[in-house]
Symmetry: C2
Amino acid sequence: MSQPIDFYFDFYSPYGCLASLQVDKIAARHHRTVNWIPFMLGAVFKVEGMTPLTDIPLVGPYSRHDFSRSARLINADFEFPDDFPKAALAPSRAYYWLLDRDPTTAHMLAQKVYHAIFVEQRDGSDPNLVAELAQPLGVNREELLAAVQEPAIKQRLKTETERAIERGVCGSPFFFVDDEPFWGNDRLWQIDKWLESGGW
Amino acid sequence: MSQPIDFYFDFYSPYGCLASLQVDKIAARHHRTVNWIPFMLGAVFKVEGMTPLTDIPLVGPYSRHDFSRSARLINADFEFPDDFPKAALAPSRAYYWLLDRDPTTAHMLAQKVYHAIFVEQRDGSDPNLVAELAQPLGVNREELLAAVQEPAIKQRLKTETERAIERGVCGSPFFFVDDEPFWGNDRLWQIDKWLESGGW
């Protein structure tokens, strides 16, 4: 059995959102699955001394233009949130809490969170929103709200973020294909090619 | 007649080097020519508060890995220079000096400079190297060495760099296709697609 692709992302990463719409399909073409691994991009930025792209002079206007263009390229609905970026602690923690109970539900919740932030312009940092999105998936609201405050779940997200940094994850989205690192939504075609050809 | 593609690059940009090996061919497929426009990436970094990728924690090791992988993908010889980065004033000035006299020679010199830096591990900041590379193209050594010290030529490079910043050039390589901006060697396939489809 081939190794799953590791897909590292932050829920407030526009390119992470766009990658989330494509990575499963690319993997499936090559009979692979995908480990979705949310992490806190802010912690990576701290190590790097970086800020979000949109805050960097010159890069800011370009990246906003490119987010929309990259979305159009894959026929995805996308609107840049007014309140960007926020710390996606609640959905990331909820994801890990669910992951151990029911990976399919965790995956569906992650997709709904991205949609809520980048299509519906909702506040992805709000635990109540995450609970609301999870409810139709059969997740108890109160249980989720309690879970995202649990020390063990908080620690899980920290640990995954530390592990990401140890592995050299330098942005979002970031992928490992059989330990080969790829950074960026615009590298998905290379992942496809890598899987097709066995690397170069 | 279609507009040429503007190709902005810094001579010490690894991704600029890799793009330089591909952009003319992509343009030619669509009956376009390319304006090669060297600029000083350091001036852009100053506006952005940025540093070279290789100096950024986490991004540094990834980018070095990716330079080589990106080169292999296009079967290009490439070796990351030990003395990276340097200020490419001499080749950039020599380029503009030649451009007004003989654009073909200027273009050939630019290709030779990139080869000298990223294949032959030579010092691309050294005016003597630039003069040596230009000599087989029929360029007089002493004239070139004098030209790169001329105030008008120095100013030309400054003006082109300022113009790049005004246009929103936020890195190297950077392209304009009918005023549509594209940043990065890894976006060349999108330029190809844009020219093919008329945009999206």
